[in-house]
């Protein structure tokens, strides 16, 4: 067991928190921080609609298929960002085409998800490159994403945000009362599909940053936390975006000071935010 690094005692704490050379590290990761912040803003906002449309499980399913796409790209030696993008957008649109019935949707996602995960694991097993690239896809690897790819992640987030801003009002209507929205002339199928495309885009970026298994920490937890403390259509998206930025950026900043991956920091911050919001929400009346 001597090859295992201790996680208790002074040495252990140095793995979790160690802020020597922090300034130099910070410079190295400034673009990662920017990408994380942009993802936080878009992920938090998209998450509010994910909650309203009861799609948390779909987000998880999309991220597993995004992982399969990224693993395939790794094996083929092409861009991992492109691979995860293709995987998640295809999955998101497929789920969107299944229609609005949550029960049908969930069973199909339940069928697709393990298949996607299995494919991803197969591709990784066939790939004989660096092991950290393999593991990173499941649990996050933002620090190892290079400059040009970070530019792509930011651009993908920007496109997703633009889509959501354009369809915001009809999407709100469709999330609340699809029958009435259709009756009022909202092109509900188009709006739903556009939302799924935006969701697919955001998930593919989140897979790069926190890993396929932990996407929910940025796409569901912040919105769920925000909904605990407010019901305002303005405050909720703003809070959700702030919480997601806090988790993503804060997670990277803390991870820099240790030798652990960033994901546990991101998920812990996210979870603590949720706990605080639950307490605040149950104490005060919601604004």
């Amino acid at each position: 067991m001597t090859h295992l690094l201790p996680l208790v005692g002074p040495e252990g704490w140095a793995r979790v928190f160690n802020f020597e050379d922090y300034g130099r590290l910070l410079q190295l990761v400034q673009y990662s921080l920017l990408a994380a912040a942009v993802l936080g803003v878009v992920g938090g906002i998209v998450g509010v609609f994910v909650m309203q449309r009861d799609m948390a499980f779909a987000v998880h399913g999309i991220s597993e298929l995004s992982f399969a796409g990224a693993a395939a790209a790794l094996l083929l030696g092409t861009s991992v960002v492109a691979g995860s993008l293709v995987g998640s957008v295809v999955a998101a649109v497929a789920i969107g085409l299944l229609g609005p019935r949550a029960r049908d949707r969930n069973s199909v996602i339940g069928v697709l998800m393990p298949f996607g995960l299995g494919l991803g694991i197969l591709f990784l097993a066939l790939y004989d490159g660096r092991a950290s690239s393999k593991f990173g896809l499941l649990t996050g690897q933002i620090i190892s994403v290079d400059g040009p790819q970070l530019g792509w992640l930011i651009a993908i987030c920007a496109v997703a945000l633009a889509i959501v801003l354009v369809i915001w009002r009809p999407l709100l209507f469709d999330s609340l009362d699809p029958d009435v929205a259709a009756a009022r002339g909202v092109p509900v199928r188009t709006v739903s599909l556009l939302f799924m495309v935006a969701l697919g885009l955001v998930v593919s970026v989140a897979v790069q940053i926190v890993g396929a298994l932990l996407v929910l920490a940025l796409l569901v937890t912040p919105a769920a936390a925000a909904l605990r403390v407010s019901a305002s259509p303005v405050v909720v998206p703003v809070l959700a975006a702030s919480f997601a930025v806090l988790a993503a950026v804060g997670g990277i900043l803390l991870a820099l000071g240790g030798s652990l991956p960033i994901s546990p920091y991101v998920t812990t911050i996210s979870f603590l935010t949720y706990l605080v919001c639950r307490v605040v929400g149950s104490v005060g009346t919601r604004t």
């Binding site: 009002r169 709100l172 209507f173 259509p233 909720v236």
Partner: protein, 280 residues
């Protein structure tokens, strides 16, 4: 428009309407002229095509034959000259929306972009409508925390805020208690009297709106009867329509229809329909 019978200006017009799904014809030879301020109640068994008629008027369901016009124009897909009130379905408690936001969607929910940016005129209309619906007291509270009746009043306000040519209601009183049923139907009735907005009201139970009803459209067995309540809600008329003996009784001002094919398991059907709505 206090007396709808005096006016002859037609708002909604159905000509030789027929709706079939494959071999099955829900209704045919439907001719209907809905006048300004008129209150039409649509009755019939489950699956007799009541809601499909509303879908057809909304332009969401194509007729197999015939035509539907509103103010002389053929209806378009998702026609914005039509207001629509759905079945009462509880809005989840976590919904980030105030009563006011729900009503505003009836005005601009179909437009792209963010809600509530500027547009003082829109805000004024929403406030006026909320006042008219008697919902001012809870318009700024989260919709998910309002009672079913309060939510349904806001939905009526949402349907009316765009000042539609016709108001369609699909079982809007379902699962509301008696007092809430009265409040919601009074709101609909008041609007057609003050603004002349004709109403097509689909329901299982005619009693809460019997006093407001001008005419009844009754669907059964792929056929229909159209006329005043006294002309349609009669044992001989409904027996002929159903093809089996049906008894219409009036007990203490309430109309009870006995012996229809879905009478025996009425409650079960009722539950099923609610269930399907949720799933859909």
């Amino acid at each position: 428009m206090s007396d709808a019978g005096d006016t002859n200006d037609t708002v909604l017009s159905v000509r030789s309407g027929r709706l079939s799904f494959g071999e099955r014809t829900l209704w045919s030879d439907l001719d209907l002229d809905l006048r300004r301020g008129e209150f039409l109640t649509v009755l019939g068994s489950n699956g007799s095509g009541k809601s499909s008629l509303l879908k057809a008027v909304l332009g969401l369901q194509r007729l197999t034959a015939g035509s539907i016009t509103i103010d002389g124009r053929t209806v378009t897909h998702g026609d914005r000259h039509v207001g629509y009130v759905p079945q009462q379905r509880l809005i989840p408690p976590g919904t980030p929306m105030r009563g006011r936001d729900l009503v505003a969607l009836g005005l601009d929910g179909h437009r792209p972009g963010l809600p509530m940016l500027g547009r003082r005129e829109a805000r004024r209309r929403v406030t006026e409508m909320i006042e008219a619906a008697g919902a001012t007291g809870y318009a700024d509270r989260p919709v998910g925390r309002l009672s079913g009746g309060e939510q349904q009043r806001l939905r009526v306000a949402q349907a009316l805020v765009g000042d539609p040519s016709v108001l369609l209601c699909d079982e809007p009183l379902l699962s509301l208690d008696l007092q809430q049923q009265r409040a919601v139907s009074a709101l609909i009735d008041a609007r057609r009297r003050s603004h002349g907005t004709p109403v097509v009201f689909v329901t299982h139970d005619v009693n809460p709106i019997l006093a407001a009803t001008d005419r009844i459209l009754y669907f059964a067995n792929g056929r229909h009867r159209l006329g005043t309540p006294d002309e349609v809600l009669r044992s001989d008329v409904l027996s002929e329509l159903y093809g089996t003996p049906v008894e219409v009784a009036r007990i203490r001002g309430r109309v009870v229809v006995l012996g229809t094919p879905d009478d025996a398991h009425c409650e079960a059907d009722h539950g099923d329909q609610v269930h399907q709505r949720w799933a859909g």
